[in-house]
Each structure stands twice: as structure tokens, then as C-alpha cells.
């Protein structure tokens, strides 16, 4: 095989690889950060969640500010065990949202939107200790409705 043919093959392979990577980028990404990595016990623990539209289309997002905005908020204790739900979370049936309000956001391609999530409303973080937090969010149906997982962060609840 001539050198030029080899180069051509490599070029094609690289293009395919690039296309594969391009296709693998999810339409949304979700990054969380703790504004206060250490929180005194008894106070609410919140994280800042940043949603980014990685698609080529304008996305319309609806947030109610309720627990049901998210597919899941997983909080684990220092031993890696999932901590129990709060009372309000255990009573809530997100499949039956009878009423409420929504805020509408339009995210252009590449734009981000930051939401504050009080994770301690979902999970019992009342005991001092180190907790890992991850948030899952379901993208709009027009973007495939896929569940987007955030990074995992650590929050310490101090006595």
C-alpha cells in the first residue's frame, strides 16, 4: 500500500472516530457543585446544578422547584450506603402531580442554566458526617428523554 493510501485510510478513520465522538456527546450535561462544602447539622444542604444544552437546537425546560423536577437525587453516607428519604420525599408521588407551577427556560445551543437543589429535602442528611451526592435529571422528550447523571460531590455535615 502506498504511503498516500495509508494516509488516506488514516484520515478516513480519524473522521469516523470524530463523528463517533460527536454523536456520543449527550444533548445535555449536568454538573453539580456545593456552594458550602461543609454545613452545620440541622441546616439545609444545597447544591448548585448547572444544565448545559449541548445540542444544536433551542431547548425548552420546565422546572417547578419541587422534588419531582429530578429523576433522582442519590445521597450516600460515608460507608457508601444510600441514606433514607425524608418524610416529605417518601410521601410524594411524582407520577401524580395534581397541581403546581412551572418556570419555563429556553436554552440556546451551548447555553447553561443553574438551579439550586436542596438535597436535604430529598434525603435525610441530619446526622453529622460525610455524604456523597449525585443528581439525575430527565432531559425533555424532544431530546430523547434520556436520564442525565451529574458528577458526584462530597458534602460534610458538621456537628
Amino acid at each position: 500500500m502506498k504511503a498516500s493510501s495509508i494516509a488516506g485510510c488514516l484520515g478516513s478513520a480519524l473522521l469516523l472516530l470524530a463523528a463517533a465522538f460527536a454523536e456520543s456527546v449527550p444533548p445535555f450535561s449536568l454538573t453539580i457543585a456545593a456552594p458550602h462544602p461543609a454545613v452545620k447539622a440541622g441546616y439545609g444542604v444545597k447544591v448548585d446544578a448547572t444544565f448545559t444544552n449541548n445540542s444544536d437546537s433551542v431547548a425548552t425546560l420546565r422546572f417547578s422547584g419541587s422534588l419531582c423536577d429530578y429523576a433522582a437525587v442519590e445521597v450516600r453516607d460515608g460507608d457508601g450506603n444510600v441514606v433514607p428519604d425524608t418524610e416529605i420525599k417518601s410521601k410524594l408521588d411524582c407520577a401524580h402531580m395534581d397541581a403546581g407551577e412551572f418556570r419555563i427556560y429556553r436554552l440556546k445551543p451551548g447555553e447553561s442554566r443553574r438551579e439550586t437543589i436542596w438535597v436535604s429535602r430529598f434525603s435525610d442528611m441530619s446526622k453529622p458526617g460525610e455524604y456523597s451526592v449525585q443528581v439525575q435529571w430527565k432531559a425533555p422528550e424532544e431530546f430523547g428523554g434520556m436520564v442525565v447523571k451529574s458528577n458526584t460531590i462530597t458534602v460534610t455535615v458538621t456537628p
Binding site: Y43, C68, M97, E101, I104
Partner: protein, 468 residues
């Protein structure tokens, strides 16, 4: 001997004769004194003396012993060193708190002589430290919502040691304690009296600190632009006599957003630019939520129920924050069978159906433009559903925290600017063909400027309604 050292010798005090013969009170020089000198050279003075009869002995800056007399209202002091000598003379003020006069310093090796005047107080005006700087006698620029914490201190170690009490003023506006334009904090936190302490249910203003008798005062926050002052003084005890220091005053010019207003609009709103004028709101319609029919006000990107856009003529670095109260949110279900009408409420703590109540979370949202689209599901078995909804959207503004502030959320608090009342009455009726038909009315009032903080004790969350 350097010129500076020569100059410092100038702090030594010598004889003064009161020409009129009218002496001040029988003032004592004993104890610590602080002040300044000026003339051919200048600097600060920290001195301490003891008295035996009319004889005086003590230290002035680094020079000791400084000796002299205090007799018939005349103070004279002198010091002799290896490189020269100095002297000063002074008289007391009528209240004995201040000694002022003239000084002379002679450098015998360089054959140079310097002269000037001095004044010092026993003890002098205290320092007022804010962000690591003594702001006593200064005008300092801060921003509404910025944490302010003071520490005060007498101006010398001797005066600190002699301090027996201190007194801060409250933040003053035109010389009087400001009633509305400063607070001790704004707390959104758990309410131990409710069943779940992990939620941010309660919003409350923390009053200004009332302890004005320690070495510090604060934290507190100015909430409106303007000019304010704070004063501090201390009382010290020397040889069993209690005296009060001069008052130090710190002045603040408080910056913040000006000419703040809120516009409302709805429908096909460009949410990136928001409302450019008060305009028509969205409309009531039947949409879907999770595949089921849903009565809603707005609810889509091209039919936004109501959008709120905040503006300010000028504003320091910061961001707008919104807080909404539900003043009414009652849903009624009329059964198709003709039975009793059910009255329904969203989940609420601590008591169902009590208004006003915080709308879900604090803050409702942040940014220049926010929107709201209330709605309710349309269950089968009912022929008419009504949603009677009213709310008060409050606008607040939070300054950008100083990067050097280490107090977390306490570094800044939001400050209030006003509110907009708005309401929706939406009805869905099932027609004979089994289709839901929407109707309703809605309106928004004009923005009302207010410096009152939004507070609440009740809290509503979207979710499953309770009917009875």
C-alpha cells in the same frame, strides 16, 4: 542621630506659663495619653506618666525618663539624651481631657533645632476597625446587603488596659438610629417547630444586634442606599477616676441599585430579554402534563403565563433574586355526578390552606427575568375544575460578595425592593362531547416599591392536592 530620631525628641515637653494666671482645673497628667505632633516634623504620640505631688515622670514614645512638673495648670517636661535634648510645654483643656502646646528639639551634634505644636488626649479617640482598616473619621463606601462587622479599641496598649467599658451607637441616619434601613440579617432556614427541619421553610429578619457594650459590633447590613454613621467610645479608669474617651465616628455611603422597577408581560415572550413594557399576560389553556389533560395559565415557550423583568438605572455588581408568596391557591372539583364540590389545596406546612405561603422554595428564582405558569390536573369524574390563584412576587437584590469575605452566606444578604401582585382564575368545563373547554381571567398590578423584607412561616409545595 537621624532627623527622625531628632524629631521624636521633639515630643518632650517643657515649661508653659499661663500669662493670664487663669489656670484650668487641677488636672492630672497621670496615665496614658495619645495624640500627634506637627511642625518641622510630625508623627503620633503615645505617652504615659505618673505623678507625685507636682512632679511628673514617664515615657514619651521611646524616650524615658521624661520628667517635669504639673503645677497650677502648667505642664513642663524635658528629656536629655546623648545626642540632644528637647522640651515641651502645654495646657489642659477645660475638661482636662486634652493637653496641647508647643515643643522644641535640639540636636546638639548637628546643631539643628526643630519646633512645632502638639495635642494629645487621655486617652484619645478609639479606632474603629472594618475589614482590617481603621475607618474612624473616614467615609467608607459599602454596598447594600454587604456584611459589616466592627471592632473597636482604645488607641494605645495603656488605654486598652485602662478601658472599663465601651459603647457603640446603632447604625445612624441623620444622627438617629435607622429604623428600616439596617438589619442584623435575613435568615431563610429550618423551623424547629415543624415536622421536617431539613427544609428552608421560614424566612425572617434578624434584628440589629442589641449588645452595644463589647469590643465589637455586628454583623449588620444596610438595606438601602444612603449615608449612615456609627459611633464608638470607651470609658477608662486611671487612678480610680473614670473618664470617657472622645467619640469616634465612621461614615458609610451605601451604594445599591437605583430606580428599580419590574415589568410584567406574557405570551410569546423572549425570555432572554424579558418584558420591555407592561403588556398582556399569557392565556389560560388546556395542555398536557405527563400525558394527562392539564388546565394551565401559559405553560409553553410561546405562551408564557406571566414574566417578570427587573431593571435598575444603575446597580453595583450583584444579582436579582425573586421570592413569591401564594396569597391564594384553591382548586375546586365539581363532580359530574352532581355531588358536593370538593375544595383542594396543594401540600402545605405547617397548616393546609393557610395563606400567604412561600411558593415552593427561597428564592423562587434568580436573574433579571423570571416567569410563572400555574396549573392543575383535570381528573376524570368531574365536569368542572376551577383554579383560583393569586400571588405576590417580591424582588430582591444581592450584592456580589467580597472575595476576601470568609463568612459564606453571611457575607451578603438580599435586600428588598418591592413586589407585584397578580392573579389568575382559570376554569375548565367538560362539554357534551367530552372535551375540556378553558376560560378565565387574569391580571397583574403595577410594581410597588417597598423596603420591607418578605417574611413567611408557611410553605407550599407543588404536588398532590388534598381535597375535602
Amino acid at each position: 542621630m537621624t532627623l527622625r530620631r531628632c524629631a521624636l525628641i521633639s515630643l518632650l515637653f517643657a515649661l508653659l506659663v499661663l500669662g493670664s494666671g487663669a489656670r484650668a482645673q487641677n488636672c492630672s497628667l497621670a496615665g496614658p495619653w495619645t495624640g500627634s505632633y506637627s511642625g518641622d516634623s510630625s508623627g503620633s504620640v503615645a505617652a504615659s506618666f505618673t505623678e507625685t505631688g507636682t512632679s511628673v515622670s514617664g515615657t514619651v514614645n521611646d524616650y524615658s525618663p521624661v520628667t517635669g512638673t504639673n503645677s497650677d495648670g502648667q505642664v513642663s517636661l524635658g528629656y536629655t539624651g546623648n545626642h540632644g535634648y528637647g522640651s515641651a510645654s502645654g495646657t489642659f483643656s477645660a475638661d482636662c481631657s486634652t493637653l496641647s502646646g508647643t515643643w522644641i528639639a535640639v540636636n546638639t551634634k548637628k546643631h539643628k533645632t526643630k519646633t512645632g505644636t502638639f495635642t494629645m488626649s487621655q486617652c484619645g479617640a478609639p479606632t474603629m476597625m472594618f475589614n482590617g482598616t481603621n475607618v474612624a473619621g473616614q467615609t467608607t463606601s459599602v454596598v447594600a446587603g454587604q456584611e459589616i462587622m466592627f471592632t473597636g479599641q482604645a488607641p494605645s496598649e495603656e488605654c486598652v488596659a485602662a478601658t472599663v467599658s465601651q459603647k457603640w451607637s446603632l447604625p445612624l441616619e441623620n444622627g438617629k438610629p435607622t429604623k428600616k434601613n439596617a438589619v442584623g440579617g435575613y435568615v431563610v432556614g429550618p423551623n424547629a417547630s415543624t415536622e421536617d427541619p431539613s427544609r428552608p421553610q421560614v424566612g425572617a429578619v434578624t434584628p440589629l444586634p442589641t449588645d452595644t457594650t463589647t469590643t465589637s459590633y455586628g454583623p449588620f447590613y444596610f438595606t438601602s442606599p444612603g449615608t449612615y454613621t456609627l459611633t464608638y467610645q470607651y470609658t477608662f479608669n486611671i487612678d480610680g477616676a473614670s473618664k470617657t474617651s472622645p467619640v469616634s465616628t465612621a461614615t458609610f455611603t451605601v451604594d445599591g441599585p437605583t430606580d428599580v422597577s419590574v415589568l410584567t408581560c406574557g405570551g410569546d415572550v423572549d425570555l432572554s430579554t424579558g418584558c420591555t413594557a407592561n403588556g398582556p399576560l399569557g392565556t389560560v389553556n388546556i395542555g398536557t402534563f405527563d400525558g394527562s389533560p392539564y388546565l394551565q395559565f401559559g405553560g409553553t415557550a410561546t405562551n408564557v403565563g406571566i414574566a417578570f423583568t427587573a431593571s435598575a438605572a444603575t446597580a453595583p455588581s450583584g444579582s436579582f433574586t425573586w421570592v413569591q408568596f401564594l396569597t391564594k391557591d384553591v382548586i375546586t372539583w365539581t363532580p359530574s355526578s352532581g355531588g358536593a364540590v370538593l375544595t383542594c389545596y396543594l401540600p402545605e406546612l405547617p397548616t393546609l390552606g393557610v395563606f400567604p405561603a412561600l411558593d415552593n422554595l427561597f428564592p423562587y428564582d434568580s436573574g433579571g427575568t423570571v416567569n410563572d405558569n400555574p396549573g392543575t390536573g383535570l381528573p376524570s369524574g368531574f365536569k368542572k375544575i376551577n383554579m383560583a390563584f393569586s400571588a405576590e412576587m417580591n424582588l430582591m437584590w444581592t450584592p456580589t460578595a467580597d472575595p476576601g469575605c470568609a463568612d459564606g452566606d453571611a457575607c451578603t444578604i438580599p435586600v428588598p425592593f418591592g413586589y407585584v401582585n397578580w392573579k389568575v382564575s382559570a376554569t375548565a368545563k367538560l362539554n357534551k362531547s367530552g372535551t375540556w373547554v378553558p376560560s378565565g381571567n387574569w391580571s397583574a398590578r403595577e410594581f410597588v416599591a417597598s423596603s420591607s423584607y418578605p417574611t413567611w412561616t408557611s410553605w407550599v409545595e407543588n404536588g398532590q392536592i388534598t381535597c375535602h
